[in-house]
Amino acid sequence: MAGFIGGLRRALALPPNSGVPQETVLADPGPSCLLRESMAGYESALSSAKVSFRRAGLQRLPHARKIILPASAIADQSKLILVKSRVEGGATVLLESAAGFLSDEEFDFHRRVMISVFGLSLHTSVRLWGPSDTVRNSPYIDYGWPIETKVRDFSRIIPVACRNAEAIAWFDGQPVGARRRVGKGTLVFLGSPLGPHLLASDREAVDWFEAFCVVA
C-alpha cells in the first residue's frame, strides 16, 4: 500500500510528507460554514472510508497532514491567515467554497480576503439554474485530479482564475477547482460544494474524495 501511495504521489507530483502530524482534521468553520449538510457529508465519508480524523474549530486549528474545510465562506482575514500558516507548514487543505450562497456584498468582501491571503482570484458566483426547470444544463462538474470523474453541480459555482494555480475541476470548460502549492503544503480549492453529494452517497463524489484522501 505504501509503495502504491508513494507511486501515486510521484505520478501526481505531490510534495513528500513533511514533519506535520499524519492525521486528518475536519475543521468546522462555524458560522462561515454555509451548508451544514456538507460538514455531515465529509464526516460520513471519512467514517465510511475508515480514515481516522478529528474535528476542530477554526480558532484552534491544529497542524495536520490534511485539513478539510467544508462549505466555507470565510471573510475573517485572521482565520484565513491561520489556515494559510497550516498550509505553509506542510498541510494539504481542502477548502470547499460555498461562497455562491453569500449575498453580493458578502461575496465581494470574501473575494478580497481570498486574493489577499491566498492570491487566489475568484470570479463572481454563477447560478446554474433559473427559478424554473427551463434551463438545460449538463449538471456535472468535470474533475481532473486526483481522479477524472463527474459529480453533480450544487446550483452555484465559483469560477477561479488559474494564473498561479493548476485547474483541477471545470464546469463547461471553465475552471471551478484549483490546486496551488503554498509554502511546504498545498491548497485545494473547490468552487462547487462536494460535501452534500457525499451525504447523499453519490458514488463519484465518494470516489473523488477517497482518492483525495489517498494522495493528499
Binding site: 454555509l34 451548508l35 451544514r36 449538510e37 450562497f101 446554474l128 439554474w129 426547470d133 449538471p139 453533480r152 450544487f154 446550483s155 452534500p196 451525504l199 447523499a200 452517497s201 453519490d202
Partner: protein, 278 residues
C-alpha cells in the same frame, strides 16, 4: 366520516364570512384553511387574528378540519439553499402553531420537490431530516404532520411502498401522510395507497382524475365521480383500514358559472361516498 372543503375554493371576490356561510349551507362539517393562499390567512396574520378566524368558523357552525399550505412550492424543505429551507421550516412551525390555535390536529405539508436541479437523493435526505426535526414540535402541540403525495408535481415518493419507507425512516407517530386520492394519476391506484398506509393517514383529499389526459393546458383533475378513480374500491379500502376521519374536497378546475353550485355538488358527491352509495 366528516366532510370539509378548502377556503381557497371560495371565489376570490368573496369575503371569508360569505364563504363560510356557503360552506355551511352546502352541508360541510368543516373547513380546511390554507396558510398563505388566501388573504385572510397569511404568514403575517397575528395570533389574535387567527383566534378571530376560529371564532368566525365556529360562529358559522363549522370547525377547522386541518391547516394546509401551498407555500412549500416556493420554499421547499428540500431546497439546496439553507435560507430557503429555513423559511420552509418556519412555515411548518407556523402551521403547527395555528393548527393548535384553530383547534385542529392536522396540517398538510408538501415535503419535497424533485427537480432537474435538485435530485431525488438529496430531496429524500433533506425531507427526512426536516421531518425528524419538526416532529417533536408537532407532537408537543398535539398535531400530526401529513406529508401530501403530490406524485406528478413533486416527482417524489411515487409509490405507496416508497412512501411507507419514507415514514419509516422518519419514524415518528406525529408524521404521516395526507393522502390525495386524485394525485396518483396513472402511476397507481388510490385504494392500494389507502390499504398500505391506513393508520398513517392524517386526512384524505378528495378529487377525481382523468388519468389519460396528461398534463398540458387543461387540468387533469375533475369533479368527484367524473374521472377515472375507482370510487367503489376507494370507499371499500377506507372501510377496510377503518378510516373514519375527514374527507377534504379539493377541486382544481372551478365552475365557470354559478361557482357556489360546485360547493353543493361536491358536498352531495361526498355524501354519496360516505354513505357508500357509489
Amino acid at each position: 366520516m366528516k366532510k370539509s372543503i378548502g377556503d381557497n375554493e371560495i371565489p376570490k371576490s368573496w369575503t371569508f364570512e360569505r364563504g363560510l356561510d356557503l360552506v355551511k349551507k352546502a352541508g360541510y362539517d368543516g373547513i380546511e384553511l390554507w396558510l398563505g393562499d388566501v388573504p385572510w390567512f397569511q404568514m403575517s396574520t397575528t395570533d389574535a387574528q387567527v383566534q378571530e378566524l376560529r371564532r368566525k368558523v365556529e360562529n358559522a357552525g363549522l370547525v377547522v378540519s386541518n391547516v394546509s399550505t401551498g407555500l412549500h412550492w416556493r420554499y421547499p424543505l428540500s431546497a439546496r439553499d439553507p435560507k430557503v429551507r429555513e423559511e420552509g421550516m418556519r412555515i411548518v412551525r407556523r402551521q403547527i402553531e395555528t393548527a393548535q390555535m384553530l383547534g385542529t390536529d392536522a396540517i398538510l405539508v408538501v415535503a419535497g420537490l424533485v427537480t432537474e436541479e435538485v435530485p431525488y437523493n438529496e430531496v429524500y435526505n433533506r425531507c427526512v431530516e426536516a421531518m425528524k426535526a419538526l416532529a417533536p414540535d408537532a407532537a408537543r402541540a398535539g398535531v400530526r404532520i401529513g406529508c401530501e403525495n403530490c406524485n406528478s408535481e413533486q416527482r417524489f415518493l411515487m409509490g405507496p411502498r416508497e412512501f411507507a419507507l419514507f415514514l419509516k425512516d422518519i419514524d415518528h407517530p406525529a408524521v404521516g401522510i395526507h393522502l390525495d386520492v386524485g394525485n396518483i394519476h396513472e402511476d397507481g391506484f388510490a385504494e392500494q395507497w389507502i390499504e398500505m398506509l391506513g393508520p398513517q393517514i392524517t386526512r384524505i383529499h378528495v378529487k377525481d382524475v382523468m388519468k389519460k389526459r396528461g398534463r398540458c393546458c387543461d387540468s387533469v383533475y375533475t369533479n368527484i365521480f367524473l374521472g377515472d378513480n375507482n370510487w367503489k374500491a376507494i370507499r371499500a379500502a377506507m372501510t377496510k383500514v377503518k378510516y373514519d376521519g375527514w374527507l377534504v374536497a379539493e377541486m382544481e378546475r372551478r365552475y365557470q358559472y354559478a361557482p357556489d353550485q360546485q360547493f353543493y355538488d361536491t358536498a352531495a358527491a361526498l355524501d354519496r361516498l360516505i354513505a357508500n352509495r357509489v
